[in-house]
């Protein structure tokens, strides 16, 4: 077991006093390992903005322990925190660039703070401009850039001092879907190439689905569910997670989600099957047909991709009820396929 790069132990932070007191982060335990892309998803007000600010000491926890890259942030002095922040990059929803500086000067700003000399700064800026794909725009001011380009400057600035961690505060929420994907691909690419650990907070399931390895779901200051992204997707436990999963399913309606109401002519039992990862390439259904001698009819099916797994969703019609149906469902469950009866089919 490798030591976690980031760990939170019963971290708590509240704001306000008396009746107006709000606990934004409520006894949160988390651990992020080196090289991971860790997503924290939650609705606005769930406490994820405060949580991410605990990770670079912009907010100090009231209680609990927080350690990042070996430094105990909960007890660090302000000077030690400032030094630690050089190695903890952060990007923001509204980019937060200095409009009085050009692209190159904005990136150089992070190096100025670190006290890097002029020649090294110049070389590093050129390198970073190339890394984020902004060649030729070095002398442009932020007001002359598109949202996606501004975020690229933000990323370059955050990476300037070779950080251990990159914190992303709703980094794509102000961008259109195509730009969002381009930025997510860039983050994913940086994660792979530099082995950089990324912690991102978002309210968009799409972001988690596209790039996250691990995900934590937050609601009212608490982490209600955490685990590998694909597992959380396939079998959401908490109610809020189920709603988030539905968010992507309904967002995909355009490219053909299934509406069971349309399957009017279906007799027998309509079952929805969900399977993850390599299983998608195994002939489980074909085997089932042979083993149970049932004419399983596929009504609708599709596969959506996450970062490292495929999630399959299949609607099938089976002329079976009672014990035969139970046996089939048990057979599928053994093979890690989640099934849900959509219509008909009394179980015994």
């Amino acid at each position: 077991m490798t030591a976690a790069l980031i760990s939170l132990n019963r971290a708590t932070k509240s704001f306000g006093q008396g009746d107006a007191r709000i606990t934004a982060v409520d006894h949160v335990d988390l651990s992020v390992e080196r090289g991971q892309i860790f997503g924290v998803i939650g609705h606005s007000g769930a406490g994820k903005s405060t949580l991410i600010r605990l990770l670079n000491g912009l907010e100090r926890a009231d209680s609990g322990e927080i350690s990042v890259a070996g430094l105990d942030l909960s007890h660090a002095s302000e000077a030690a925190l400032r030094k630690a922040r050089l190695k903890i990059g952060m990007i923001f929803q509204h980019f937060n660039l200095l409009w009085s500086r050009t692209v190159a000067q904005n990136i150089a700003f992070a190096l100025e703070i670190a006290g890097v000399d002029r020649a090294t700064t110049k070389a590093r800026v050129t390198e970073l401009v190339g890394l984020v794909g902004l060649e030729g725009r070095e002398d442009a001011y932020p007001s002359q850039l598109s949202g996606g380009q501004k975020q690229r400057v933000g990323i370059a600035r955050a990476l300037a001092n070779h950080p251990d961690v990159l914190l992303c505060d709703e980094a794509t929420s102000a961008l259109d879907p195509e730009t969002t994907d381009a930025i997510l691909d860039l983050l994913s690419d940086i994660n792979r190439r530099l082995g950089l650990t990324i912690v991102l907070i978002t309210h968009e399931m799409h972001v988690v689905r596209r790039i996250c390895d691990q995900v934590a779901v937050m609601e009212a200051g608490k982490v209600v569910e955490t685990g590998p992204a694909k597992a959380v997707f396939a079998q959401p436990q908490a109610e809020v997670t189920k709603r988030f999963v539905r968010q992507i399913t309904s967002a995909d309606t355009v490219d053909g989600a299934f509406d069971p109401a349309l399957a009017g002519g279906v007799e027998g039992t309509l079952i929805k099957l969900i399977y993850v990862g390599p299983l998608a390439r195994q002939p489980v259904l074909a085997d089932a047909i042979r083993q149970f001698d049932l004419p399983i009819n596929i009504v609708h099916g599709r596969v959506s991709r996450t970062r490292d797994a495929a999630i399959g969703e299949l609607y099938v019609e089976v002329p079976a009820e009672g014990a035969a149906l139970d046996a089939l469902l048990a057979y599928l469950a053994e093979r890690d396929i989640v099934s849900e009866i959509v219509r008909g089919g009394a179980q015994s």
Partner: protein, 222 residues
């Protein structure tokens, strides 16, 4: 030509008055800029919700600037006579006007500085902190450059009211165009002198406005 239009105007006197006005405005303006920037920065940083939020410091400083901003300038000069005597040694001449000019204008500029800093995005300050920037970085590399246009346009307004103040100071013996217009013009019933002095004040004010607007536009990269 000039003799014909302004028969009572003595050119040497007129130039001397103009130079005196520019001298007072320039020197008092520089001091006002430095002092106003300092006080404005402290006002901003100690205001509620900011980095060095401090109710006592902010309250006291805020009250002081409001008081000095509210006293009519002509009364301020009289009130400051003891201070001026102590600092300058006498109550006549251009230097005697300087303390009152600065005390009158600096609080006004400090408020404009505070307002200009408020326009700087909180997110940029947060981003600077997230990069490990301390208070010095925030003041000199974020607040002042990012508020540049506001600081420049505020200084323009302040300098223009300073020109007005020098004229008032002139009436009670500080020299300059106000002095010329009042003593040589009004009291000796030489309307042409008053008119010439007024014309020169207008030229100075317009020039300040022009340069100020130019600087504001040049600094604004938004």
């Amino acid at each position: 030509m000039i003799e014909l239009l302004f028969p009572n105007l003595r050119i040497d006197q007129f130039w001397k008055a103009t130079v005196d006005t520019l001298y007072m405005t320039g020197l008092a303006g520089t001091a006002t800029f430095v002092l106003g920037l300092l006080v404005g920065t402290i006002l901003f940083l100690t205001s509620p919700g900011q980095l060095l939020a401090n109710r006592v410091v902010y309250g006291a400083l805020s009250l002081a600037t409001n008081i000095f901003r509210s006293i009519p300038f002509i009364i301020l000069i009289v009130l400051l006579i003891p201070v001026t005597r102590f600092l300058v040694g006498r109550m006549l001449g251009v230097n005697a006007a300087l303390p009152a000019l600065v005390v009158g204008a600096a609080p006004f500029y400090a408020r404009l500085v505070e307002i200009a800093f408020r326009e700087v995005s909180k997110g940029v300050i947060e981003a600077t902190r997230s990069m490990g920037g301390g208070i010095g970085t925030i003041i000199f590399k974020v607040l002042i450059p990012e508020a540049g246009p506001g600081l420049a346009s505020g200084l323009t307004v302040t300098l223009i009211s300073l020109v007005g103040y020098t004229a008032m100071a002139g009436v009670i013996g500080a020299g300059g165009l106000g002095h010329l217009a009042y003593l040589e013009g009004f009291q000796r019933n030489n309307g042409d002198v008053t008119l010439a002095a007024t014309g020169m004040v207008l030229v100075i004010v317009f020039a300040i406005q022009f340069v100020g607007d130019l600087a504001t536009r040049k600094l604004d990269k938004r």
